[in-house]
């Protein structure tokens, strides 16, 4: 084979490429100048921006957890099965919440009972009950517990002031992971209503 046959494509090619000498258009020089000025300005403009995050967008404002907690819904979900939606309880089995001085007098008592549970005999409104109240401290946050207690203290005919989450927090810090209270144990730590 002659070189004519072996390099067909190479033969019909244009020469290797090269560069012309057209000067840089003025608009390009102008654009470079504009960008340099813009770059300096952009840096300067970010003086005072937060040091971390690298972003100027505003995060969507979320309501702090707790203020959106609904005491009534919590009551329906957690409490109403025993204490009944009316708060009257079930005679001889589950004590009533309406008018109960265990609930309405010293806020520390209901916080302790709901947070840690209660077992053993208890007298509510003149009737005796065999207490078997479960603990809610590991199910409900301080905000939720305060919300549900505030709800029952103000619902139906009850008219006691709300309970702040801080009080629940304080109880948890003071008593830690407490077993279910008995009435005697409650009497050692708190002022009993009757």
């Amino acid at each position: 084979m002659s070189s004519r046959d072996t390099q067909r494509a190479q033969r019909r090619e244009n020469p290797e490429p090269s560069e012309g000498q057209r000067p840089v258009p003025r608009l390009v020089i102008l654009w470079i100048g504009v960008l340099l000025v813009w770059g300096v300005g952009y840096y300067a403009w970010h003086i005072g921006a937060p040091l971390t995050g690298g972003d100027s967008r505003t995060a969507v404002v979320q309501e702090p957890a707790g203020s959106g907690v609904n005491g009534e819904k919590l009551f329906t979900a957690q409490c109403a099965a025993c204490h009944q939606p009316t708060g009257q309880g079930v005679a001889g089995t589950f004590p009533p919440l309406v008018g109960s001085r265990w609930l309405l007098n010293d806020p520390a008592l209901p916080v302790a009972i709901v947070n840690d549970g209660l077992s053993g005999p208890i007298t509510v409104g003149g009737d005796d009950y065999q207490g078997n109240m479960p603990a809610f401290g590991d199910k409900l946050s301080a905000e939720e517990l305060a919300a549900v207690l505030s709800y029952v203290r103000g619902a139906w005919d009850n008219d006691a002031p709300a309970i702040e989450p801080a009080r629940v927090q304080e109880h948890r810090e003071r008593h830690g992971d407490h077993d279910a209270w008995s009435v005697e144990a409650l009497g050692d730590s708190f002022t009993l209503p009757e």
Binding site: S3, R4, D5, T6, Q7, R8, A9, Q10, R11, R12, E13, N14, P15, E16, P17, S18, E19, G20, Q21, R22, P23, V24, P25, V28, W31, I32, L35, L36, W38, G39, V40, Y42, Y43, A44, H46, I47, G48, A49, P50, L51, T52, G53, G54, D55, S56, R57, V60
Partner: protein, 544 residues
């Protein structure tokens, strides 16, 4: 950001930019001894001013008159020396393109058809998606880019490739790395950072394979027989120097934990685009456009600005992926400024490429190489300017974490880079095999399938991604409503991806047919359409 940090940034920025402009000015005005004159003398005697149609029929009479015997000998020697290595890298690239397309299509389908093959752990989204990325980025784009560089560098330096056997061995090791890397990802042994999924033990193979290829190319450059380095060789050599450094640093195990790891991750991932595939793509376009038109690139000065500003500005842009992330504000701000400064190299390269094409767009109708490469060059302009916009905080707040970014990535990696690589392969193979592409309709079919495919792909994801971004900013819109909103666009993306994959199958079949020398033994190049002049000459052909 404190005033001190801002002032330091401003001083660095101004000093480096002014220093760069001084460097460019001194090269352009011949302060270093050779420059503009050397650029002009690149034409061999008797060649300057010849504008040749690549579609021109080759008749022995015209050819021998036009081409300098030394030029032809150098060209033949260069092509012969790089032949086997180039074919190994390009052939492997086409194989990995098919693998990568298959996994890409599967990934895309899973977005709107989540039950598809979901009960096999080998085919879950978390594994097939990185397999797609790594197959196309390191298998297709990188191997085709290296193959083209192996072909072009001996030509640009008018000398034989030194150590072609090493480059051939390098292809083998690189392919082994690809295989082991993809299998590792499929087994769930991923490094867990995007673009860096291959385990570092496998990465060693890429370092060795790449080095076996880079060293011959650097030695070839040292053996050069030209006084002036044409712009393509700057880009190709720079890419071959930059990429190993990036790849090695980013893959060093255990060096960058936590937020600094994320910073290095995106520094690397964006530099794969800007300092590896961009210089390859732009360099190839700088070669193919003037080569096929037979006209010089219009401006040496613009080439200088384009190349050096890319080198200065690109390395810092990747951090714009972390706008809103846990990295210092000054770093993100630096990266945004540099992202916008990228419009300087992009605009200068665009003027050079498209200005050279000006008045010769008619040739796009016939030359496959020119059509693929020029569309790729045009998409480089579009995707880069789009990228500069996306880095701005006001735009980023909408497009970040949406399908818009994916559309942009494919505009760059596919519509820009892959189109240019297709064009380069159409140019290179006839010169290596001394055979013409067998079937013209297959080139036409390939072109339209991938062009329409990527058009649907990018438009669908850009529109869908933008709407998705706007909805995500509205806190009242339920998340599932946003997911449902994107579904038609994701289905369109699968349609576009299917067309592209089909185009790749057509291309691969044609590539294999070319390798096995199917079709007729012809002397005319295979073009989109036969020109009138060719018909006239066809009688001459028959007589020969």
């Amino acid at each position: 950001m404190t005033p001190t940090i801002a002032i330091l940034l401003i001083i660095t920025f101004v000093v480096s930019a002014v220093g760069l402009l001084l460097l460019i000015w001194s090269i352009a005005t011949n302060q270093f001894g050779h420059g503009s004159l050397a650029a002009r003398t690149i034409f061999l005697e008797g060649e300057e001013g010849h504008s040749e149609d690549p579609a021109r029929t080759v008749t022995p009479e015209t050819t021998d008159d036009n081409i300098d015997a030394d030029e032809l000998r150098a060209r033949g020697q260069a092509d012969l020396s790089s032949r086997r290595a180039t074919m190994a890298w390009l052939g492997s690239a086409v194989f990995w393109l098919l693998v990568g397309s298959g996994y890409g299509l599967l990934t895309s389908a899973k977005f709107h058809w989540p039950e598809l093959l979901a009960d096999s752990e080998w085919l879950t989204f978390g594994r097939v998606r990185p397999m797609h990325l790594n197959a196309v980025a390191y298998g297709w784009a990188s191997m085709a880019g290296v193959g083209t560089a192996i072909f072009l560098i001996p030509r640009l330096f008018k000398t034989a490739l030194v150590g072609g056997r090493y480059a051939l061995t390098g292809a083998g090791i690189w392919n082994l790395g690809m295989l082991l890397g993809l299998v590792s990802i499929n087994l769930g042994l991923s490094d867990g950072e995007e673009w860096l999924e291959f385990p570092w033990q496998v990465d060693i193979l890429f370092v060795i394979g790449g080095a076996l290829c880079a060293i011959p190319l650097v030695l070839t450059a040292a053996n050069r027989r030209v006084a002036h380095l044409y712009v393509t060789s700057w880009y190709l050599l720079a890419a071959l120097v930059w990429f190993p450094i990036l790849f090695l640093l980013a893959n060093l195990p255990g060096l960058f934990p936590g937020a600094s790891g994320a910073t290095v991750n995106w520094w690397f991932a964006h530099n794969v685009l800007g300092l590896w595939v961009t210089p390859i793509g732009v360099g190839i376009a700088y070669y193919m456009i003037p080569k096929i038109l037979g006209r010089p690139i219009i401006s040496y000065q613009l080439s200088l600005i384009g190349f050096w500003s890319l080198a200065l500005f690109y390395s810092q842009v990747g951090i714009h992926h972390l706008v809103g992330g846990p990295v210092p504000t000054w770093l993100v701000t630096l990266s945004i400024v540099h992202s916008v400064m990228m419009s300087i190299p992009v605009i200068t390269v665009a003027i050079n490429h498209h200005g050279t094409m000006w008045g010769h767009f008619g040739m796009l109708r016939r030359s496959p190489t020119l059509r693929f490469v020029w569309i790729g060059a045009l998409m480089y302009t579009v995707s880069s300017l789009q990228g500069s916009m996306e880095a701005l905080r006001s735009v980023n707040v909408i497009t970040h974490f949406t399908h818009y970014t994916v559309g942009h990535a494919h505009l760059g990696m596919y519509a820009f880079l892959s189109m240019i690589l297709f064009g380069a392969i159409y140019f290179i193979m006839p010169r290596l095999l001394n055979w013409e592409w067998p079937w013209r309709p297959l080139i036409t079919l390939h072109f339209w399938l991938v062009s329409i495919g990527i058009l649907i792909y990018v438009v669908a994801l850009s529109v869908g991604g933008w709407l998705q971004g706007l909805s995500l900013l509205d806190a009242d819109t339920p998340f599932m409503d946003i997911v449902r909103l994107t579904l038609p666009y994701l289905e369109a993306r699968t349609l576009g991806g299917a067309l592209m994959t089909l185009g790749h199958l057509v291309f691969a079949v044609h590539f294999v047919a070319m390798l096995t020398r199917r079709g007729k033994d012809r002397r005319q190049p295979t073009l989109f359409r036969a020109g009138e002049r060719q018909h006239k000459h066809s009688s001459v052909e028959v007589q020969q």
